[in-house]
């Protein structure tokens, strides 16, 4: 508003849809007002969404394309973020949106994760690059809250949650990307119990910036003499400026920004090369004062970070879809197909053309389905919270579903987000390729989501190599059981019933493929597993998304039937009808792919393994 550089906000969200998910489909109201969410009611949760959306559109949205154009600069060893970011950071922490779910002991409001996931969607959708900075500060704080000593918590948490300090996650090194275990950064124990850190980290998001007084790096490093591989990694708190026990700043800690990257997207987010201890003056402290637990601690944090990446995906894809929809209703081109031979027939808005409608409905179904999966996952997290200590069996079930669904949300959410953005550009036609419209930036910004926080293949291997076998395979069995129970219960449903056969068949194909992969493990055909992993993850995601969309459609048709049949409920009726059509589209156009994938995997084709590397091309 007052910033001359600020451009127009292009972010769009559908709050009606978000509230449907939270309050109607997933009945968040049932857990609000009770421990541990005593302070919350539906009114508060709903107002938080309204106000966050307002904030997103007025403060963050106008900085999205300007930040993309100007990018970050490195001057005198410090990163300067795009104009307006610092002001937005201050306003964000004044408003408190980052602390919706933070434990009240640390100044938060203790809301369910399901609400926070949507708050995050609104912030990330309005300005993905900006929201990474506070997102990483939040993630770093969560690790310290979970694993830090009491002193570490009191020194770092209030400032990290309060926005005085930023935070990062430092895993990647030139020789250690997906292969985190080959990390070469070292830590040497000093007589006072702290550690001297030496090494170079690359691609560190928010590795430096000008919005906070200090930056708290969480650095994976190997203590001298520790075993090789991930088992020998420890996690250190390494602030940019040294901090006294009471949290006041002491001075330089020998952390230098070597350079910043020039990227395809998220240009407002500084991606840094960080050199720790070039002058032997970098001191870190061990998280929780335990060595060689770094990977386990990071993994805990990565669950949250991976969900956050799925949220980034749906956030951007959703706004791409809604912008494309707006454009399609406005842009006139060509006559209706009914008059295709008549050059004088009136030109219609492109939203009238079948192929444009196909793209719009596909985008809608994917966006809403993935959002439903995210809220489902977040609610599983909340239910762990609710049942912990009182009903361990239930808590275990929900935790199992969290573990199982995280790679789906991260990988399917990010892969499909990119595809939705690409389809949004296609919907616009030439205008979509032009920077006057937001979708080309969305597409560039969205590409990173399938790469960082573990590439999507790493997610797929996490799913098939670890998660499927967890608790003796029980997590997967319970997931398949939940889907089967839904199919069983609604088989005769007048509107949704016909699509359930597709879901049932997809669920069986998925279960069959899981069995097939198990035999690969058992019969020494391990090499087949990574070939199939990404496809398996996609199949399982499609089953999950199809299930939740159909569940929403069952509810929507009940709700629609109970509406008064007059003008006053036209909006609600249209909304519920939309839910039904999105589910129908997904069931008929996407779920059949699960069966076809199963069939393809069943052929056990090995050509990517068999082709000699020299045969790819004559390079």
């Amino acid at each position: 508003m007052s910033n001359p550089q600020a451009s127009q906000n292009r972010y769009r969200a559908d709050l009606r849809e978000m509230k449907f998910l939270l309050f109607e489909q997933f009945r968040l109201g049932d857990v609000l007002g009770r421990a541990p969410f005593e302070a919350w009611g539906v009114d508060e949760a709903s107002m938080v969404l309204d106000e966050t959306y307002k904030f997103a559109c007025e403060v963050l949205g106008p900085l999205n394309s300007t930040g993309d154009k100007s990018g970050c600069r490195l001057e005198g060893g410090r990163v300067l973020t795009p104009e307006g970011f610092k002001d937005a950071w201050t306003k964000l922490y004044e408003a408190g949106w980052k602390n919706v779910s933070v434990n009240p002991d640390w100044g938060g409001q203790g809301a369910p994760h399901a609400l926070f996931a949507l708050v995050e969607e609104l912030l990330s959708g309005a300005n993905t690059a900006f929201n990474m900075y506070p997102g990483l500060a939040h993630g770093a704080a969560e690790v310290i809250q979970l694993f830090g000593t009491d002193r570490q918590k009191s020194a770092f948490l209030p400032r990290l949650y309060g926005g005085q300090w930023g935070g990062t996650m430092c895993l990647t090194e030139p020789h250690a990307g997906s292969d985190v275990g080959s990390s070469r950064t070292t830590a040497k124990k000093l007589p006072d119990g702290r550690y001297q850190i030496r090494g170079t980290k690359i691609f560190i998001s928010g590795g430096d910036h000008d919005m906070a007084d200090n930056i708290v790096h969480l650095v994976l490093a190997r203590v001298e003499g520790a075993p090789p591989g991930t088992k020998g990694l420890s996690l250190f708190i390494v602030p940019r400026l040294r901090v006294k026990d009471d949290g006041t700043i002491e001075g330089s800690n020998d952390v230098a920004v070597g350079s910043i990257e020039h990227k395809m997207g998220i240009n407002g987010s500084a991606t840094c090369v960080l050199n720790f201890g070039e002058n032997d003056g970098c001191i870190g402290e061990l998280v929780g004062e335990v060595e060689n637990h770094g990977m386990a601690q990071m993994f805990k944090m990565m669950n949250g970070a991976r969900i956050a990446v799925g949220v980034q995906g749906v956030a951007v894809a959703s706004s791409a879809f809604l912008n494309a929809l707006e454009y399609a209703r406005d842009r006139k081109q060509g006559p209706s197909i009914d008059h295709w031979k008549d050059p004088t027939a009136p030109r219609v808005a492109i939203v009238e053309h079948a192929d444009v409608r196909r793209m719009l409905l596909e985008m809608k179904a994917k966006v809403e389905g993935i959002r439903a999966l995210i809220v489902k996952l977040a609610l599983h997290q909340d239910m762990v919270h609710v049942h912990q200590g009182s009903d361990d069996q239930k808590a275990q079930y929900h935790q199992g579903q969290v573990d199982l669904l995280v790679p789906l949300v991260k990988a399917y959410g990010s892969d499909q987000a990119f595809r939705v953005c690409e389809m949004a550009i296609q919907t616009y036609g030439g205008a979509g390729y032009i920077k006057d419209y937001p979708v080309e930036q969305y597409c560039r910004d969205a590409k990173i989501f399938s790469i960082y926080e573990g590439t999507n293949h790493i997610q797929a291997m996490d799913l098939v190599g670890r998660k499927l076998a967890q608790r003796g395979g029980q997590n997967l069995q319970e997931f398949l059981g939940d889907v089967a129970a839904f199919v069983q219960k609604n088989q005769g449903h007048p509107t949704v019933g016909p699509y359930l056969a597709e879901l049932g068949a997809a669920q069986e194909a998925l279960a069959g493929t899981a069995m097939r992969m198990l035999t690969w493990f058992q019969t020494g055909r391990m090499a087949m597993v990574p070939l199939a992993a990404n496809r398996f993850l996609e199949m399982m995601s499609a089953v999950a998304v199809g299930w939740l969309l159909l569940e929403g459609a069952v509810l929507a048709s009940e709700k629609a039937a109970s509406l008064p049949n007059d003008e006053s409920s036209a909006r609600d009726r249209a909304f519920y009808e939309g839910k039904r059509h999105a589910a129908a589209y997904y069931a008929r156009h996407v779920l059949p792919e699960v069966r076809s994938h199963a069939e393809i995997l069943g052929r056990e084709d090995r050509s990517p393994l068999d082709i000699p590397t020299d045969a790819f091309a004559s390079l």
Binding site: M1, S2, A39, G41, D43, E44, M47, V48, E51, K54, F55, E58, K91, E94, A95, G96, W97, N99, V100, Q109, D566, E567, S568, S569, A570, R571
Partner: protein
């Protein structure tokens, strides 16, 4: 300082085309509309909050802001939002939207003012639905209080307000003794428009109305919101304004294409008669 802010909810002005008029033309059909606070009243609330704080320490209240609205139960959403933005208390006068007019609202407000005894009554210069621009003026007359309308700036002085009003060709500044009625215009939410005696004159506010922050949303539930019967404030509920019919504005006629400039000039002269 104690301030009473009158807030009205209006059909979302961004979706004004959703307002329907049934064929009978008897009244406006409000079913299915989305409601928003009247923007000018939101500005009045922002001005009231600025007058009851030190702008450099907005978390400390230095006065009281009471918001009041007239309407059915669901208008409490509008009041809760005002409480979340920073108002201290809320009053809902139970009433039906279509059984109110400016005169009745002003009479009821007068009774409420006599009970609440605020130093200032602040409200928007008009509501963007009916654009009547009456309640503030009638209320000031009924109370026999000084009044300043269309305020663009307000500076608190001991026992008075210095109110800047944008008029054709300049700014007219009025000093109104308290208690007083002030209605506000758009510019009242500019960064340097409103100063309480506590806010240093170097302080600059953010442009526009403040956001409801998370802690305030959570605290709003605990702030008092009471319901008052309209009959208790205004025993005589007769309306002075009666509406005889509503009609949508006529659809614009399609334009015509002219061959050349001379045809244009001739049409402007002979048909439109503007030359």
């Amino acid at each position: 300082m104690k301030i009473l802010v009158a807030l009205k909810r209006v059909a979302d002005p961004d979706n004004a085309n959703k307002v329907k008029i049934p064929a009978s033309g008897e009244k406006i059909d409000t079913t299915g509309l989305e409601w928003k606070p009247n923007p000018f009243d939101e500005y009045a609330l922002e001005a009231a909050l600025r007058l009851t704080e030190n702008g450099t320490q907005p978390k400390v209240r230095a006065g009281e802001v009471v918001v009041v609205t007239f309407g059915p139960k669901e208008t409490e959403t509008t009041l809760r939002a005002a409480l979340a933005t920073g108002a201290d208390r809320a009053i809902r006068v139970d009433a039906s939207d279509d059984k109110l007019d400016g005169d009745l609202v002003a009479r009821a407000l007068k009774a409420l003012v006599e009970k609440e005894k605020p130093d200032v009554v602040l409200m928007g210069k008009q509501a963007v639905d009916g654009d009547s621009n009456q309640v503030g003026q009638i209320l000031a007359e009924l109370l026999d209080w000084p009044m300043a309308t269309f305020a663009a700036t307000i500076r608190e002085e001991a026992g008075a307000l210095l109110v800047g009003r944008e008029v054709d060709g300049g700014v007219s500044t009025l000093r109104v003794k308290l208690p007083a009625v002030v209605t506000v215009d758009l510019r009242i939410v500019a960064p340097t428009s409103v100063y309480s005696t506590k806010t240093p004159s170097t302080h600059k506010y953010n442009d526009g109305v403040r956001f409801a922050a998370l802690p305030a949303i959570m605290a709003a539930k605990k702030k008092p919101l009471v319901e008052v019967k309209l009959a208790d404030l205004a025993p005589d509920q007769a309306l002075k304004v009666s509406y005889h019919g509503f009609a949508a504005p006529p659809a614009r006629k399609a334009g015509i294409k002219v061959k050349d400039v001379s045809e244009l000039v001739s049409k402007l002269k002979n048909e439109a008669k503007v030359l």
